[in-house]
């Protein structure tokens, strides 16, 4: 429902001293486009280097590995964070990357509770994520400049997984590292222009949550995760 739009826009038209326009799309003839400059001709290796440097600044660990070694690498990070409970998305990539033995056997055997995000569980999903020590997700893109992972949420990919647990792990492909937000904005624009709808939530997450509200001192982990690790798949 939209309420009181007409009279509201009428007032704006009066202020702008013209009749209200809701039909003719304004031309955006920008004179400047600084965001399109820079980062030209960089290889994925160059971007990875920029990413690693930035992650260092935002208290975020970067682990590079291969698809083959991913189960080991992930197990290690999880152990470092003190194990379960683990909250994870429901995503076929976990199986594609051969992680099933980990979350179906190894972790439960170590006493780590594992909960996947199933739509039919409803509210229970959020409670699981809330109790979890670790949240495990994939990221569609990674922004090198700002050390940012990009989480698209839907039925099987709850927003809570990246937000509620104490520790956050995102698995990303090296090929998905882009220079900056500019490239993702372009992709989203294309999606919208072709009439596709957007996910109800897109979260750009750069490291653990933090605050400088007390004496301007930086502290990590105010509401969201206290620690964050990005695991980069070098051969993907």
């Amino acid at each position: 429902m939209i309420q009181h739009r007409e009279e509201f826009l009428e007032t704006i038209g009066n202020s702008l001293k013209r009749t209200v326009n809701t039909k003719v799309k304004p031309q955006r003839n920008w004179k400047y486009a600084p965001q399109k400059k820079g980062y030209q001709g960089l290889s994925q290796d160059d971007l990875l280097e920029i990413l690693e440097k930035q992650c260092d600044k935002i208290h975020t660990d970067v682990v590079t590995t291969t698809v083959k070694d991913l189960p080991n690498a992930l197990e290690q990070v999880v152990d470092q964070y003190g194990g379960g409970p683990i909250s994870m998305w429901q995503d076929s990539r976990f199986d594609d990357y051969n992680l099933k033995p980990l979350y179906e056997e190894k972790w439960p055997n170590k006493g780590y509770d594992v909960s996947k995000w199933f739509p039919e569980l409803g509210e229970q999903n959020i409670q699981n994520a809330e109790k979890a020590n670790i949240g495990l997700t994939f990221s569609e893109y990674v922004l090198a400049e700002s050390g940012t992972v990009v989480l698209f949420s839907d039925q099987a990919h709850g927003k809570s997984v990246g937000l509620l647990p104490n520790n956050f792990i995102a698995i990303v492909k090296k090929s998905m590292i882009v220079p900056r937000m500019t490239q993702v904005a372009e992709l989203l624009n294309k999606r919208i222009e072709s009439g596709e709808s957007l996910p109800s939530a897109i979260d750009f997450v750069s490291g653990p949550s933090n605050s400088a509200d007390i004496e301007m001192k930086l502290v990590v982990g105010v509401h969201g995760p206290i620690h964050a690790t990005y695991i980069i798949l070098m051969d993907e």
Partner: protein, 477 residues
Amino acid sequence: MSIQYNKHTFKDNVEENLNNSFMRGAVVSAQDRLRTGRINAAEELGDWEEWRAHGEEIRQHVLNNLDYYLHELAENVEKAGGHVFFAKTAKDATDYIQEVATKKNAKKIVKSKSMVTEEISLNEALEEAGCTVVETDLGEYILQIDNHDKPSHIVAPALHKNAQQVKDVFVDKLDYNPQKSAEAGELARHVRTTLRNEFLTADIGITGCNFAVAESGSICLVTNEGNAGMVTTIPKTQITVMGMERLVPTFEELEVLVNMLTRSAVGQKLPSYVNVMTGPRKPGETDGPEEFHLVIVDNGRSNILGTDFQSILQCIRCGACVNVCPVYRHIGGHSYNSIYSGPIGAVLTPLLAGYEDYKELPYASSLCGACSEACPVKIPLHELLLKHRERIVEQEGKAPISEAMLMKAFSLGGSSSSIYATGAKIASRVVAPLSKNGKISKGPGPLKAWTEVRDFPAPKKERFRDWFKEHEKGSDK
């Protein structure tokens, strides 16, 4: 809290703040840190002037086509399953939100930091409707539990409290163990626990809106703490309140402005969380709101649109102007007696709340132009302050502050060589309207207090920024 803090005179507020030495120290070091952060971030980005020019053209384009983009935004929010309410006045907005709260039988409401909800006194309205409102931004939360203390800075609202004071409040109000330390990390961790519980039991989440995207009907929120994420993930109903000018055409412009906002505010490339929400949750989704309301607020903004002051609506609330302002540095945020402090506050508050209570604010400036230079979207702040002064003199027949005091306060000494003004042209424009009539009072004006400030800048012929660098090294901290 409404836009105004108290009914004290400007002079009393200034004096009170000058006597608070911790606050003055905190303001100085916060300004230095945030300002340096911004300058470094801008340098790192490169072509900063081009970014500013682009930021300016985007914001101007939006304002000149506000009707089109607001219409489009509303269409797309509706298409995504949300409700849109256009509120002409603060009361229209709060009435609608009260209504939603009542319909939802809401008891507890969590909020993430938002200037516009302060502006329309939303918390009071919700309390009136029987709701408990919990601010979730750490700084705002500290102020709220400390009997609604006032924010002192746009991006660092609890700047005026030291860690020990924060601890005392926590011991008193949050059962914080008095044996524990007053260390910022430990204090923040305690809030993590207490607020987590609030999030999980809240009926409604309320947010402001950094930017809305017309083309997709999305809302973008920018935080470091992740509280906006929590507010928009857990409660079943979400209400987002936006000033009517806070939108962009597409993601392309969103990206540019988000980048400029966080670099200008705190010197970060991006904050920890940029949350983009489009409508309520979709079928089968478990988190995110079931119901989404967007409340678009005019509250005086359309009176600014189409006037000489239109450019102030370009503002993206980064606080960069606050962090370079020598007057803010000396009198602190509370002196402005408004939720909007510093140069942005001195221009915007009188426009939204009237000259009656705020005619001195446009004089809370040395017209050095540092604010205009710092503004990422190129708002000519010091020129707007001058315009205010001209209007005030026209309306009142006299300036509310004596010329002599003004000159003395800023060590201008009546000399047109002062580089505080960005040139003799501006200096003479300041003086002209003030001395036009013989009615200027010679008594001690509100600026008297400023002259008592120890090291009020007495600049020579050097650029403000160089001066600032020079003084940073010295005893100013």
